[in-house]
Amino acid sequence: MRQALVAAAAFALAISPAIAQDKPAAAAKPAASKKAAKPSAAPVEEKDAATLEFEKFRAKMIEEGNPAELFEAQGEEMWKTKRGPNNVSLAESCDLGLGVGVVKGAYVQMPRYFADAGKVMDAERRIVWCMVEKQGFKEADLHAKPFASGTYTPEQTSLVTYVAANSKDMKFAVPMKDPHVKDVYEVGKEVVKHRAGPYDFSCNTCHGADGKRIRMQQLPNISTQKGAAMAVLGWPGYRMTGNVMLTHQWRMGDCFRQQRFPEPKYASDTVTALLTYMTANANGVTYTGPGIKR
């Protein structure tokens, strides 16, 4: 792909006036194309019967028992156990923003700014940071295979599930009064608008307007509170496809994949910025705990 580099590099390009004055080619659009297509096809319902049936049985499954609870239990065990080269537990060393060891309500108040790291971090990134800085695990090891597949589940995934479960029934409250968080939010808003790649897609191509679908899949408008809630609720989630526990970090990567973008690095600023934008937009909405996903 011969694409010009952004920002500074682009501005520095010396442009020949001859090219700049390219003659506009004749591009007459046939008149009929101005007419809006008004087909007599079946109306598109907001939610079809299948979607309603899926939602009903998903709710039933969460009520009766979500396999996510198995990972939550493993995460709790890991949180409380002395582990790693430093032989300390996260319960006695890791501050998720509400004090060392406090998990209750921590998930719905992240991403947040952590002075000790000098960064805004989402829950998963913070947990990884604690595992490295407090317990002495190697960052490269934790980054090597960060998402579940087959019967493998990364430790941080179980830990995130445990931490998230401890914010169930609490309202999202990303601390937007903190200027660090606000700044990252604004950067995230720019990431969401950034069109690039072979198909000129940005996040907003699919998630910037109400009532849109890809095939039958409802597309939440993440700029609204309702849409952001749709996108944020249910993560981390137990995915029926593959029977794996996956985190919101994973979901962001899969969005970029379908956007035809390259892969965002694990626990990177870009993913944190996106999560900050979406979660803060969902502020005030009650978190329903780890979910079940298709």
């Binding site: 499954m61 028992g65 979500n66 609870e69 198995l70 239990a73 493993q74 019967t151 137990y238 029977n243």
Partner: protein, 104 residues
């Protein structure tokens, strides 16, 4: 030895509502490894029992078409808060697991 189960039991009126989450791959023996094209052997829970207050209340046999990480729900009359609930499973490879909970 298998991974821990999660067992919850709660009185709802005159019965105990028992929810069991098992951690098990429940391989059907019908899948192929996409990399090697070899059939992945079946590994699945074949039997489990539920005891409440020392008595077996449910005895079950299962095949390969139970979902991965199985979830079961039962209702038991005559149970009371404080009763011990014990769940035991055994799979076709001889692996087994026992976990307990108390009726709340």
């Amino acid at each position: 030895m298998g991974s821990p189960m999660k067992v919850r039991a709660q009185m709802k009126g005159d019965f105990a509502d028992i929810k069991i989450l098992m951690s098990h791959p429940m391989e059907t023996g019908q899948r192929k490894d996409p990399k090697t094209n070899q059939t992945i052997p079946a590994v699945f829970i074949q039997q489990f029992t539920v005891e409440v207050g020392g008595k077996v209340v449910v005895q079950s046999e299962t095949g390969t078409s139970i979902s991965t990480n199985p979830v079961f729900g039962f209702k038991v009359k005559g149970a009371k808060a404080g009763d011990k609930v014990v769940v035991k499973w055994q799979d076709n490879k001889g692996d087994s697991r026992t976990d307990e909970a108390t009726v709340a």
